[in-house]
Each structure stands twice: as C-alpha cells, then as structure tokens.
C-alpha cells in the first residue's frame, strides 16, 4: 500500500505512555520516585476494573454483538489476521502468511504452529474451515457476518496447517474481514453448541490472551489471564502472556456514574465518555483516549423510496445546509466533523471536505429552483406539501440526540423541517423496513472500503435504498478488484459520487471515547476502534 490512508489516530499507547512518562519525570524531580503513576517497564499482575455502558447480552463474537460485547470478546478470540490501526496494513495472527488469487476468489491461509484453544484443543485447518462453514448458517442474527462472506463457496483443509477458502464471486474485502472479531476463530466445542448456548460466557472458547470466567447479566463479566499465551499479532506491543491477571467489566448505564466512579478511584477504565465529561476527567488526571470508528460516518441516509428524500434537489439542499463545523463545538474534542462519507480512520478514505462545506445560500437556491417556496411558518411547501422529513435513530445513543437537535435547527433555517423519531432498537428494526421513512441516522463500522458496498449497494443492506447503476458498478468493482491501488481509485470515485448525489449526508465521525485512570497504561484501540487490553498494565499501588 503506497499511501498511509489513516490520517488521524489519537490516543495510541505511545502517546499515552509518553504523557505518563513526562508526568512521572516531573514527579521524580520534585518528590522522589513516583509510584502512583504507571511509568517505566510494564508490571504484570493486578485486576483491571472496566465500566461499560451496556450489558453485552450475547458474548459470542460471531453473532451480532453490541459494542460492549465486542470489547469483551475481542480479548478472548483471535483472528486469522490482524489489521494495524496506524498503517492500515494486514498483519499475521493465527495465519502466518496467505495468498490471494488475482480474481479475488481464492484465499489460502498458512496457519501458525503450536496454537491451542484455552480448552487444550489445537488449532488446525479443519477448525478454521468448520468456523467459516458455521458462521454462514449460524442463525438469523448474522447478516453482518454473512456480508463479509458474500459468495462463500466453501473451504478446504489442504493439510493440517493450510486452509483454502473459495468464493463463487469476487470478494476482495474478505482478507480484511478475517481480521474482524466477527470472523474470529472459536474452538470446536463452541461450534457444537446452539446459537443461544454460544451467547453464554462459559461456552465461548477462544485462543486469545484472556479466558472467560464469570458472567452475571446486567452486572459484570470477568476474564482471567491465559497462562502460556504465546501468539500475539504483530500489532501487539509485547510477546508472551498478557500483563493483567484479571479484567472485570462492570455494566454501568449512567454516564455520570461511570465518570464519577473513575474519578473516585472505583474504576480504572470507562467507555462511552460523554463530550461534557472529557475535560472534567482530563483535569482530574485521567487520560482520555479516542478513535473514530472506521467505516461510514454517522450519516443521514436519504431513502430513495420516500416522498421527499427521493428528490435530488432536497438531497442537495440537505448536504449544503448542514454546518458540520458548528456541530464540532457540541461534540467535544473526540468526535470530529465529517470530511467524507468515510471516517478518516478507514483505509482508502479521501478528504472531500470541500464538498461538505456549509452553504445555506446554495441549499436555499437548490430548493427554490425545484419549486419549494417558503410557507407561512418558514417551512417550504410545494403543491400543498410541507417539506417535513422524518429521521429515525436509536434513542440509546446519547450523542445522537444533541446532534440531531442542532441539525434540526440548521435545516429549519433553510426551510426544511426535520422530525425526530428516537426509537428503541426493536422499533428501529421495524421502522427501517418502512419505505416511507425519509431519513435514517447511523453509522456502519468496518475498516475497509467494502463497507461502501455493504452499506449502499442495492444487493446488500442498502441503507439509502439507492437505485443508481453508476454507483452499483463502482461498488461491484470494490468487490472484484484485488489490486490495492486500483481499488482505492474506485473507492475514491464512489465516495465522491455518494456525496455529490446526496445518498448519504455524513455528519460526524462517531468516535469511541475511553478514559483511563492514572496508574494504568497500555490500553489501546484495534483497527475497528474496539479496546484491546493485551498490553494493558497497572502500576502496583
């Protein structure tokens, strides 16, 4: 890969480490050796107490899990490959090396020797084949995962350490997909369980540096260190076992309680830090780590089947009316305004901020030209219809609310009414099927250009219900082109086209924001912006 597409990666372990080292230096000069701050060589041992915003519900990484579930299972399950979050390069993990056929239909992986699952069974080609076979038929809840395996024709165990995966159609995104936790490799005993049984902690057996210990619904999940772990990916900072003895994930739904608990020393790490608390935590000595979710930004998807969002002029107006810079002030330091349909942490991202500059006059002009004239209450009308667009979104994400309320005001200024419809996950699933809904607001996380295809292709989830042959051709190209440079060129074209035609109105880069207490170091993000605790350690108290 010639260019490094990842422009902005904050909060890597080195940055945090440097900050701590500096702090320790100051302390050392004034008051002798500093013991309360993590500095110097990592120390093994200790229990890390983590505060999560939601219950993981199902701990099987291969089934659709929420963020909490992935943050936990990522520590337990390894993938065939890993993706370096800084360079965007795919690195070896359970597979030492691999070959991809030029038509992107055949992938051959050579497995590392000596890898065992935590129940003692060895990793071999047959286990990998069984994993892939099972994922495809695991149950109703795996549409995300089956997207990764589009056109899967089968796998063959060529020899105990070589597995060949074949597709009936090109699937250039598959190599990257082997790095995501949803295609992580679990032990044969897990594969034998039913989909429901696999959700339970004791049934998920992986080959990772930690092992499931206990799970209590809505309360906590604990992991213990796996002795003898010796196969970290090249992205890891050290070799051998993890440093921590145990990790305790507590479910704490209230963001204020998570923040207060970290500040008062009752927790070491908290996720889902609200923008308003970032400064408070930093001033209290905590380190705030953030990384944008790679993939499609938090975006208004304009549904091609609806009354108003199907109108190209309305979509153009929406794209121009959104003032992304104004939003930045309420989003805090971690969530950045969108500069493309993809977040800057996505390999293949292209900066299109010129297309996304705020232009209320241009928005008004587009609407005027299409015959939308201001009505008595300031909202535009045409043929007796008010220009009122409904937007569905998940009420559980606190930041959504703030952002959409401000967007509502920005759109009102150009004569568009935005009707907010906060929904529970269950209601959202139903509403997303309704062709009359104008807009939906959300993101799709995946550190690969293929996310454009899975999001916008009429043959995939098609969040925007687009029917555009020109775009479809570009998206097909993303799947069939194995050559990285040619694929990035296609991706750039697709990003521009989606923005110009207003299929997606990107708003901001949803980021994962984590706070780490003083005395804890080595917490980092993997390429999908999930947490990795392999390198984490705690200074002795």
């Amino acid at each position: 890969m010639s260019t490094s597409p990842v422009r902005r990666v904050t909060g890597r372990v080195l940055t945090a480490g440097a900050a701590f080292a500096a702090a320790a230096l100051v302390a050392a000069c004034s008051a002798g050796p500093a013991t309360s701050t993590a500095s110097g060589a990592p120390q093994p041992g200790g229990v890390l107490r983590v505060g999560l915003a939601a219950d993981p519900v199902c701990l099987d990484p291969q089934q659709n899990g929420n963020a909490a579930s992935i943050n936990i299972s990522r520590q337990v399950v390894n993938g065939l490959t890993d993706l370096d979050p800084e360079t965007g390069e795919i690195t070896p993990w359970l597979a030492e090396s691999w070959e991809v056929s030029p038509d992107a239909r055949t992938f051959t992986f050579h497995l590392r020797e000596g890898v065992t699952f935590s129940d003692g069974t060895p990793l071999d080609a047959q286990v990998v084949k069984d994993n892939l076979d099972k994922v495809v038929t695991l149950g109703a809840a795996t549409s995300l995962v089956t997207g990764y395996l589009k056109g899967y024709a089968g796998a063959t165990a060529v020899d105990p350490r070589t597995v060949r995966v074949e597709f009936s159609e090109p699937n250039a995104g598959f190599l990257q997909a082997t790095s995501v936790v949803q295609l992580g490799i679990v032990a044969p005993s897990t594969l034998q369980k039913s989909a429901e049984e696999r959700c339970q902690a004791q049934n998920v057996i992986g080959s990772g540096p930690f092992v499931f210990d206990t799970y209590t619904q809505n309360v906590s999940t604990t992991l213990t260190k796996r002795p003898g772990y010796a196969w970290p990916s090249a992205v890891g900072e050290h070799a051998g076992e993890a440093y921590l003895d145990r990790i305790e994930f507590n479910v704490i739904a209230e963001s204020g309680v998570r923040t207060g608990s970290l500040q008062s020393g009752q927790l070491d790490v908290i996720t889902d830090v609200q923008p308003v608390d970032e400064q408070l935590l930093a001033s209290g000595g905590a380190t705030v780590l953030s990384r944008a979710n790679p993939g499609v930004d938090n975006t208004l998807f304009a549904k091609g089947t609806s009354a108003f969002a199907s109108d190209a002029a309305v979509r153009t107006a929406l794209q121009k009316a959104v003032d992304r810079q104004q939003l930045a002030s309420v989003l805090g330091a971690s969530h950045k305004p969108a500069t493309s349909i993809l977040a800057a942490t996505t390999p293949g991202y292209v900066d299109e901020s010129v297309l996304l500059a705020a232009d209320p006059a241009g928005a008004a002009a587009a609407l005027d030209a299409a015959g939308w004239v201001p009505g008595p209450d300031g909202i535009r009308v045409r043929d007796g219809q008010r220009l009122a667009l409904d937007v569905i979104y998940l009420s559980s994400v606190a930041t959504n609310q703030t952002v959409l309320e401000l967007l509502q005001q920005q759109l009102r200024d150009v004569g568009i009414e935005l009707v907010l419809r906060p929904l529970s996950v269950a209601d959202y699933v139903t509403a997303a099927k309704d062709p009359a809904v104008n807009l939906s607001f959300g993101n799709f996380t995946r550190p690969d250009l293929d996310v454009l295809r899975t999001t916008f292709s009429a043959k995939a989830s098609n969040a925007a219900r687009v029917d555009d042959p020109e775009l479809e051709e570009l998206l097909d190209g993303l799947a069939s082109t194995a050559d990285a440079t040619a694929r990035e060129a296609l991706g750039a074209q697709a990003q521009k086209l989606i923005l110009e035609r207003g299929y997606g109105i990107p708003v901001y880069e949803l980021a994962q924001v984590t706070a780490v207490a003083p005395g804890v170091d080595g917490v980092r993000y993997e390429s999908s912006s999930r947490l990795i605790f392999f390198d984490a350690w705690k200074a002795a108290q």
């Binding site: 608390d277 104004q326 309420v330 009420s395 401000l406 907010l420 209601d427």
Partner: protein
C-alpha cells in the same frame, strides 16, 4: 358545575378568606399554581425567546442575568424551555389524570350503584390492573403504544384507573345508602336522576381531592419514564424529559437538572397542598 358545589362555594367565601389568612402555606401554594398556569397560557409573556433556539457559542452557561436558569449543552436558554414546556407538561398531566378519572369513575359508579355481580366482576377486573405494579404496567403499555408524550400520559392514566375506581365506588356506596338518597329512590325518582342530582355531586369532593394528588404523581411518573428512556419526542421541552436529560451534567453543569427539578417539585408540592386543603373542607 353541580348546584351543590356552587352553593357551597358561595356560602363559604368569607370563611375561606379567613382560612387563607391563617394558612400562609396555602397562599404560597395558590400563588405558585397561578404562576404556573400563567406560564402555560401565556409563555411568551414570561420568556420571550425561542425555546428551541440553540446557540452553541453560549453552551453550558451557569445561571446569570442573561440566562436565569443557565443554558444547556447546545446553548438553549433553560428558563425559556421550562416556561414553554409548562403547557405540554400540564396537558400531559391533565390527560393522564383525565384518563384515570374518566375510566375509573365509570367503573366505580357502575360497580357502586349496581352492586351485586356487576360490582364483584368490575372490582375483580380492577384488582387485575392493580396486581400489575404501576411502573411495569406503564412499561408494557408503552411497549404497545410507542414513545411520546400522549402515549406516556395514557399509560400513566391507565395505571391510575384502579385507584380512582376504588375511591369512586366507596363514595357511591356511602352516598347511595344515605337516608335522603334512599328516600329519593323510594319515592320513585329515576335511577339516572338520583345519580346525577344526588350521588355524583356529593362524591365529587373526595374524588377531586384524589385527582389533585394524582396530578403530582403523574408529573413524577412521566419524569421517571423519561429517565428510563421513554420520554417526550425531542426537542420539545417537557418537564419530565428536561429533568431526565439534565442528569448527565450533574457533575459539570448542575443547573441543567437541578433547576427544572425544583420547578417540578414546587409545582407538585403546591398542587398537593391545595388538594389537601380542598379535601379537608
């Protein structure tokens, strides 16, 4: 208004004025309610701004001369939002109480007046509703109706049906067996006439007092449901959702939750005080 109530009101004006002088608490409560009513009817007079207008440059400002209640996380004036949210909050509350009062009264009157098997059947039905704890019932109803202020009001209202039905039934039974009513029935006055001219007016006092207390309960129930994530549709200001939304800023901007909560508490206290005074007469 029924004649009996008017009579009573006309008779006791001087007495009531005297009572007010000895009860400063009641005066404060009445003034509070008058103010709240003013906010609901003429919000523009008390806060001329736009409750939805966000000004990100002026976000999270503490209370001060320009913003009496401070500003929220996108820079909206909280005072304006509280004042303009009054009408919707009161409507929701009155709807909730109205649903409970109406259904509860119908059930209670029929059960109390008809007696016999109809009474048994209706009161067992009320027991069924009563057996599902209030907040659980609200959550189940909300699951069916979806999210929104009206939906919450209806859910809370349905939850209060058993309470109203029981009070109304008890009152009706008490009055029906009173000598003057029995006399009226015996002298051939029609059932409906007995109900409207004797039973209902006399039962109204106790029932309205309960309704007054229920107003406070309803306001709190709505804010509890908002806290659990079933609040009013944003960005409409509504007291319950204002109180619930501000809780994330307790450590950084206390005013966002504390000041709207104070308004809610003051209103609930005032309503309860007045309802109690009314019940004691």
């Amino acid at each position: 208004m029924p004649d009996a109530l008017l009579d009573r009101a006309a008779r006791s004006v001087p007495a009531r004025a005297a009572a007010l002088r000895t009860q400063p608490g009641l005066v404060v409560a009445l003034l509070t309610l008058a103010l709240v009513l003013g906010w609901a009817l003429l919000p523009g007079v008390f806060a001329s701004g736009d409750p939805l207008r966000a000004d990100p440059a002026a976000r999270l400002l503490p209370p001060g001369p320009g913003h009496w209640f401070g500003t929220d996380e996108v820079g909206r004036d909280l005072w304006t939002r509280v004042v303009h949210g009054t009408a919707l909050s009161l409507q929701a509350t009155l709807l909730a109480v109205g649903v409970g009062l109406l259904i509860g009264s119908i059930v209670g009157v029929i059960a109390g007046y008809a007696g016999g098997w109809a009474d048994s059947l209706l009161m067992r039905l009320v027991d069924v509703l009563l057996a599902i704890p209030g907040l659980l019932l609200c959550l189940a109803v909300l699951a069916a109706l979806g999210r929104g202020t009206v939906e919450i009001a209806v859910a809370v209202g349905i939850g209060s049906v058993p309470g109203f039905a029981r009070v109304v039934r008890a009152e009706v039974v008490r009055i029906r067996t009173a000598p003057y009513v029995e006399a009226a029935t015996a002298s051939g006055v029609r059932t409906l006439r007995v109900l409207t001219s004797h039973v209902l007016p006399n039962a109204a006092g106790a029932v309205l007092a309960v309704a007054g207390l229920q107003i406070g309960t309803a306001v709190l129930a709505v804010s509890s449901l908002s806290f659990l994530g079933f609040g009013a549709v944003p960005p409409t200001p509504e007291w319950g959702s204002l109180v619930a939304a501000g809780r994330n800023y307790l450590a950084t901007a206390w005013w966002i939750s504390v000041l709207p909560t104070s308004v809610v508490v003051a209103t609930v206290l005032a309503v309860n005080r007045v309802a109690r005074a009314y019940a004691r007469r």
